[in-house]
């Protein structure tokens, strides 16, 4: 038995007093610089910016108190690193090291705005001073991400000051476990990991399952290409996940929790570890939490990077130290989960929703969203979109709103072609369904799925066959190989897609793909296999003609599949500089200096070197 450490907060009144004390310490005159240190901004050097601001604050000698703060992801990753200055919440984007001195001198000390670093609306050209004026944020509704970008993820005091752990206090002092489940039930919350299973129903089954020891697990093994919702929550507000887990453990009757997070998320691991240490020190984890009699602790398990470990039973196998492979679902994890004991597994975002539900009541969340999908959903918006980033929107919002109002439309003014939702398990949705509302059922109806929340935008230059091939190749690498359809079927699908994109497609290939897709859906052991063909099936459904053009005419309409389109020189644009002649590896280009050159199509291997090297954009794909 470890010696009981003296904990800071032993009961609800301790917490109340401590929060009052923290709030009292806030000096409204303090000027604050908040630097985003989320992974995207950090990759662009925001940690250095943070250090520079700190050094500047320490050295300024000004009368006013200045505080530099590192905060989690703001969401507008495209424009990072992002720096916000209080008061006024002035948002600066794409800040670089040389800008620090100017921001400090002008804004922090001088109270003036540095115009050139403000966000400029690409359509109207208007400058936005704060988040509130940027369309990217206006359409969003932030519940889970509400405190991201405001609080320091490494400080539990910041979290408590902004109202953190009030939900836990409310739960433990005024609610029975059943009350908690009823509240979650009222909210209509469905699992945010992709499946959309009603959270309250899962909790109740686990609560009612027989077993002295029960577990709760937080699934942070986010592996979809282009998805980073969970990462940003774990990095930006780790205590919200912990609070959700502790409340859930009380409702379910679990005494041990695990957070399974992929090791490729070092910052998330670090922030979670730090948060767990603080929560233990403060008394939110451990024995007799807030004098309620409820005991609970959390451990972190780092995943080795297998996509399949995001599947609940594979995750549990991995947690147990076995190979991460799924098992048959006829035995439910809520009854026989981790170590064969009742286990409740939810995704990061699901857990992070819980404190808000308890604080505001289930009905409050149920007001947001559509009939069967309540609340908000975080999406990571990537691909050929202007504002790459993290967005949280109410369920039911149209794809058009997300793509155009929040995302700012397609990059380089190209036409929108489709959006892939749900990662490798999802499907693509073409332009004609842009006005569809985004919720669990609507997306499924369109042949895609909600998934965990990745949204990849394709423009007119994206070849759907190639796109589907990308996902199938990903799944081929990530299939665990346990069951036949997935292990053998996916490589067969890939084989056919490769033939098609190399211009070797045959009549009947589409039908073969459909047969294999049906087999994968019907026969696979887990969801990785049964949804694997969705990217193929949905692209066939909406872009069958593109498949047919590849197969029949050996042509790629989007001009992406190499060999299935030709390069030609536009005579009017060609300056006759001779670069392409020099670079062409097969000497297919001829021409006099200063006169338009010509590509001999019989010799050309379509390697694209001339296209890349031409300084005048005089080479076109036809």
């Amino acid at each position: 038995m470890p010696v009981a450490v003296d904990r800071l907060i032993k009961n609800p009144s301790d917490l109340e007093n401590y929060r009052k004390k923290l709030k009292g310490e806030v000096n409204p005159a303090v000027k604050r610089v908040r630097v985003c240190i989320g992974t995207a901004c950090a990759a662009k050097g925001s940690r250095r910016l943070y250090e520079l601001f700190r050094a500047a604050a320490d050295e300024s000698g000004a009368d006013v108190e200045i505080e530099a703060k590192s905060v989690g992801c703001h969401g507008l990753c495209e424009r990072g690193p992002i720096v916000v200055v209080e008061p006024g919440d002035i948002l600066y984007q794409s800040v670089e090291e040389p800008d620090v001195a100017e921001i400090f001198r002008e804004t922090v000390l001088g109270g003036k705005v540095v115009d050139r670093l403000l966000y400029e609306d690409p359509s109207s050209g208007k400058k936005a001073k704060s988040e509130k004026q940027i369309p990217f944020y206006q359409v969003q509704k932030r519940i889970v991400l509400a405190e991201n970008g405001r609080i320091d993820p490494t400080s539990i005091d910041d979290y408590i000051r902004s109202g953190g752990y009030t939900a836990l206090e409310k739960t433990l002092s005024t609610m029975t476990p059943e009350d908690v489940i009823i509240e979650v039930e009222k909210s209509g919350l469905r699992g945010r990991g992709g499946g959309g299973f009603p959270t309250a129903r899962k909790w109740r089954s686990c609560r009612e399952a027989e077993g002295n020891q029960k577990y709760v697990i937080c699934n942070g093994d986010e592996g979809d290409p282009g998805a980073f919702m969970d990462r940003s929550i774990m990095e930006g507000n780790p205590h919200s996940v912990l609070e959700g887990l502790i409340i859930g453990s009380y409702a379910i009757g679990a005494t041990q929790g695990y957070i399974y997070v992929r090791n490729e998320y070092p910052l998330a691991v670090e922030h979670l570890k730090n948060a767990i240490g603080q929560a233990q020190e403060y008394g939110f984890l451990g024995e007799n939490i807030l004098d309620s009699g409820h005991s609970f602790d959390i451990r972190i398990n780092r995943g080795g990077g297998a996509f399949v470990c995001g599947e609940s039973t594979a995750l549990i196998a991995s947690l147990e130290g076995r190979t991460g492979e799924p098992r048959a679902k006829y035995v439910h994890t809520v009854e026989h989960g981790l170590r064969d004991l009742p286990t409740n597994l939810n995704n990061v975002e699901t857990w992070a929703n819980i404190p808000a539900i308890i604080n505001n009541g289930g009905e409050w969340l149920a007001q947001i969203g559509t009939e069967k999908s309540k609340g908000t959903k975080v999406f990571s918006l990537v691909g050929k979109i202007v504002n790459t980033g993290l967005v949280e929107v109410p369920m039911g919002i149209t794809l058009r709103d997300i793509v155009y109002n929040i995302g700012g439309g397609v990059q380089n003014g190209k036409a929108f072609k489709a959006v892939q939702t749900g990662g490798p398990s999802g499907g693509c949705i073409p332009a004609k369904f842009l006005d569809a509302g985004v919720d669990f059922d609507e997306l499924t109806k369109l042949g895609s799925m909600m998934g965990s929340g990745g949204m990849i935008i394709m423009d007119e230059d994206t070849c759907v066959v190639n796109f589907a091939k990308y996902y199938i190749n990903f799944l081929r690498q990530e299939s665990c190989g346990k069951c036949t359809p997935c292990r053998e079927g996916i490589p067969q699908v890939l084989h056919i897609l490769e033939r098609i994109t190399h211009g070797e497609g045959e009549e009947g290939d589409i039908e073969k793909l459909e047969t294999l897709a049906q087999l994968l859906a019907d026969g696979s052991l887990c969801a990785l296999g049964s949804t694997a063909a969705n990217p193929v099936i949905s692209t066939i459904r909406y872009f069958r003609d593109e498949y047919e053009t590849h197969i029949r005419d050996q042509r790629c309409p989007a001009k992406e599949c190499r060999g299935l389109f030709a390069f030609e020189i536009i005579p009017d644009q060609c300056k006759g500089c001779g670069i392409c002649i020099k670079k062409c590896p097969v000497d297919a280009i001829t021409g006099e200096r200063r006169l338009p050159h010509l590509i001999n199509q019989d010799i050309c291997t379509k390697c694209g070197t001339c296209y890349d090297k031409c300084p005048f954009d005089a080479i076109a794909k036809v």
Binding site: G481, Q492, H495
Partner: protein, 278 residues
């Protein structure tokens, strides 16, 4: 109302509910938690299965035993080898959807293991004459990765000399580091359960050893002290020593059996693997 009626129709035996399974129109009653495959045996209906053996745990990974569980409008395909019967259910084995799925799985397996005579034989029995797919997975040809050998080695023999290595298409059954395993006693149980004949026992007359191919593990063969005939391998004899408990009454009874039947009885009492041909 309906619930009361179905309650009345429920069959109990010794206080336990006995579910009724209707397979292709034939009704059988089985103990709760039996598998559909067991129910099908009882009903006399054949369902192909490759990775299934009653001597080891079910992993349901070959997916060849898919059947359609009829529920509401649209059925659901489930693996009959491990689907537990908990309520009265209706199952279709010969329905088009189930047949198509099993055929699809078999075609994929044929593409993976094109040279296995055993697999071709089973395919023919299922009415599958060939595969439209090329062989695209190269790792460990002719092994269908059912894992029976691994489970037998671990659960029945207790050696864990082989296991899966790699992931997805690169998956293979192998000894650690692909070297001859010191844990292998060359008992041949893996070769016996292998449904596609990929694992073979090779006898090396020159050295008096048995080799388990393709794992390269070898063990010396025990020789009959009287006639010099080769018996089991030495480590097997040693291992069996620890498992056999001599019961004199049983011994006397066995003395009344012919050598053939006596051997069978002995094998059964050692709780070894059920023959694949059964």
């Amino acid at each position: 109302m309906t619930s009361v009626r179905s309650m009345q129709l429920r069959r109990y035996e010794g206080g336990f509910f006995v579910p009724r399974v209707t397979i292709d129109g034939i009704e059988v009653n089985v103990p709760r938690e039996s598998t559909i495959l067991e129910a099908a045996h009882k009903a006399g209906i054949w369902i192909p299965a490759l990775c299934y053996n009653p001597a080891v745990t079910n992993t349901a990974n070959c997916r060849l035993c898919l059947v359609e569980l009829q529920r509401g409008e649209r059925g659901k395909l489930v693996t009959s080898c491990n689907y537990p019967v908990r309520n009265d259910i209706t199952v279709s084995v010969s329905g088009e959807r189930a047949q198509r799925a099993r055929k699809g799985v078999m075609e994929l397996l044929l593409a993976r293991a094109p040279e296995s005579g055993e697999l071709k034989e089973l395919a023919l029995r299922m009415g599958v004459e060939g595969t439209p797919y090329p062989t695209v997975t190269e790792a460990q040809r002719n092994c269908i990765l059912c894992g029976l050998c691994i489970r037998v080695c671990e659960e029945v023999i207790g050696c864990s000399a082989i296991g899966f290595a790699g992931r997805g298409v690169d998956r293979s059954v192998t000894t650690p580091f692909m070297l001859a395993s010191e844990d292998c006693i060359a008992c041949g149980a893996c070769a016996m359960v292998c449904p596609v004949g990929t694992i073979q026992i090779r006898i090396h007359e020159d050295t008096g050893e048995a080799e388990i191919s393709p794992f390269k593990s070898r063990a010396k063969l025990l020789i009959c002290e009287e006639c010099g005939k080769q018996l089991v391998t030495e480590p097997v004899a040693f291992k069996v020593d620890g498992r056999v408990h001599i019961d004199w009454d049983e011994f006397k009874q066995r003395a009344r059996l012919c050598p053939e039947c006596r051997r069978k009885r002995t094998a059964q009492s050692l709780a070894l693997v059920e023959s694949k041909k059964s």
